[in-house]
Amino acid sequence: MKTAAKKIYIAFIILFLYAPIGTLMVLSFNASKTRAKWGGFTLKWYIDLFHNEEILRALLNTLLIAFFSALAATIIGTIASVAMNGMKRRTKSIMMGITNIPMLNAEIVTGISLMLLYISFGMKFGIGTILLSHITFNIPYVILSVMPRMKQFNPSTYEAALDLGASHTTAFFKIVLPDLFPGILSGFLMAFTMSLDDFIITHFTKGVGVDTLSTKIYTEVKKGIKPEMYALSTLIFVTVLILLILVNRSPDKKKS
């Protein structure tokens, strides 16, 4: 009885959490153009979606920005973690605080302040500014996933590598980096995901005519919701879901 109650409770939670997304997914396969009735199963909206050049360009932008911003943030974040690990306890916790603040900061504040910054430097808005913004907000996520790995690192393995004749560079790339790799990978995937689904910051820092998927959907929706948008949203959801599963699994894989 008790376990049954527990299961029902969980079922309700999941239902409320995922019902909206489920509805969206179902509608993306609905042949009827109105939301009110089911007109049979179709993949038409998906096909339409992949014939819509504007959306494809937005998709390409999104992926490029996600990939390169995640890559840059991973490199910067990893180097920062190594440096922060070498700091004294007090300085380290101050640095950790500073890097954590942007994550907690309201996105709209980050977005507007980045926009103002670019304007004051007279920068041209476009892919470049979006990329810079994404790198900025991604770095804390990388640090957050590399630091715990860094703390577990046994510094005498680094010394052992030096002792066996390795230069500092060799020791770093052959010993330190492979050891941090699970943290770095999950940091990268996390950054990729964050960049992929960001809307607010992108909205404020993109130029005219440049769109990522999220800003594209926003513009399209203003004109009236087309079923292609359901298909697109479904795809984004599934992609993010897969990435999140990868992020959560990657540290465990190394352990086993």
Partner: protein
């Protein structure tokens, strides 16, 4: 004594204003098994790190085979280190771990394979090439750490409490293994430990350290039988350290009783400390004893009984295979050559500090 290999020339080192080593001088000869022994914080690990190149002395020089290597980085030194917690590369196989140093030196594949094979044989872990470090026990990991160091044919091997994490039985086995390896390889070993039994078992020379100073250098026998001060006597094995007065050559007054001894040259009526090992205190009937006392404690230790005897106001620690019950009146006898006379510490630095081990 064979050729001089390493000389530490008045090395000083402090961390955050705290003096760790104070003008330390030490010479290590070729093919010697030297143990740096002392309680934690005595500076033994710092000395090892200075030898390995992981720490730079504030003053003083490290001379290796006649050359000053004080500022040579660890990767350019002709020596290797076995670290306290093995420090194996967990993402590499055993073979890759052992090959690490050789690959950096760009040795041929054939040479590397031969060396891996030889090293694994030496540490009795034949056939472990493709295992991962995590799948090995502590003792096996330690052997791999040793193998990884010796394949580079260092002239000097530094070992930082390598057996500290192992259980007693394994530790004793590894002690014999290390002696065997050292004899087979003909490499100089510098070994750091706080375990006096380990030091006595393996070393040719023991360097007893405390608070950044060398207390005594000598063979295990000399350190055990003729400790130079109360710190050494107390740190190495159990002992009775008793304040006494050297009446004249070969005669010492211990707690009001005069004992014959063999030491000379301390002067007349000079306050000294005497060291008497518990196994050297003989218990006899009160009438036969030089001093009389009463047994206050008795513990069975396996090989012997450990007793405490109150005599002359001092609790004498006694090891004996014969048992004397608590409350029994006994006599104490000590052979003259079992009484070791030491000068009283002259400065605070020399003074024996409380040992918390």
């Amino acid at each position: 004594m064979s050729k001089e290999l390493i000389h530490l020339d008045s090395i000083s080192k402090s961390f955050d204003g705290q003096m760790i080593l104070d003008e330390l001088d030490l010479t290590i000869h070729e093919n010697e098994f030297v143990t740096l022994l002392g309680p934690s914080g005595c500076g033994k690990t710092t000395t090892l790190r200075i030898l390995g190149g992981f720490a730079t002395p504030d003053t003083g020089k490290v001379i290796f085979d006649g050359k000053d290597i004080t500022n040579v980085p660890p990767n350019k030194r002709p020596l290797n280190t076995v670290f306290q917690k093995y420090a194996l590369f967990t993402h590499m196989t055993i073979a890759e771990n052992i090959a690490f140093g050789l690959k950096i030196k760009k040795k041929s594949k054939q040479y590397i394979n031969d060396k891996i094979h030889y090293a694994l044989k030496l540490v009795n872990l034949d056939g472990y090439e493709n295992r991962m470090p995590d799948s090995l026990s502590g003792g096996q990991q330690q052997r791999i750490a040793i193998a990884r160091a010796i394949v580079n044919e260092p002239r000097l091997l530094l070992l930082d409490e390598p057996l500290g994490a192992l259980d007693l039985k394994l530790r004793q086995e590894m002690q014999y293994e290390l002696i065997r390896m050292k004899n087979e390889l003909g490499i100089t070993f510098v070994y750091v430990t706080h375990d006096q039994e380990e030091a006595l078992t393996m070393s040719d020379t023991i360097v007893v350290m405390n608070q950044g100073y060398i207390q005594q250098i000598g063979s295990p026998e000399a350190i055990y039988n003729e400790p130079e001060n109360a710190f050494v006597a107390d740190f190495i094995g159990d002992s009775n350290i008793i304040p006494a007065i050297m009446v004249e050559d070969k005669l010492v007054d211990i707690l009001g009783t005069r004992f014959a001894c063999v030491d000379t040259g301390f002067g007349r009526n000079k306050p000294v400390d005497v060291v008497i090992r518990p196994e050297d205190v003989e218990l006899v009937t009160p009438a036969d004893g030089m001093m009389q006392g009463v047994v206050t404690h008795l513990i069975f230790k396996g090989v012997h009984y450990e007793m405490e005897v109150l005599a002359g106001g001092f609790e004498w620690l006694v090891h004996s295979t014969a048992m004397w019950p608590v409350g029994q009146a006994v006599g104490i006898r000590v052979d003259p050559f079992n009484i070791q006379i030491m000068n009283k510490p002259e400065s605070e630095d020399e003074e024996a500090v409380a040992i918390d081990i």
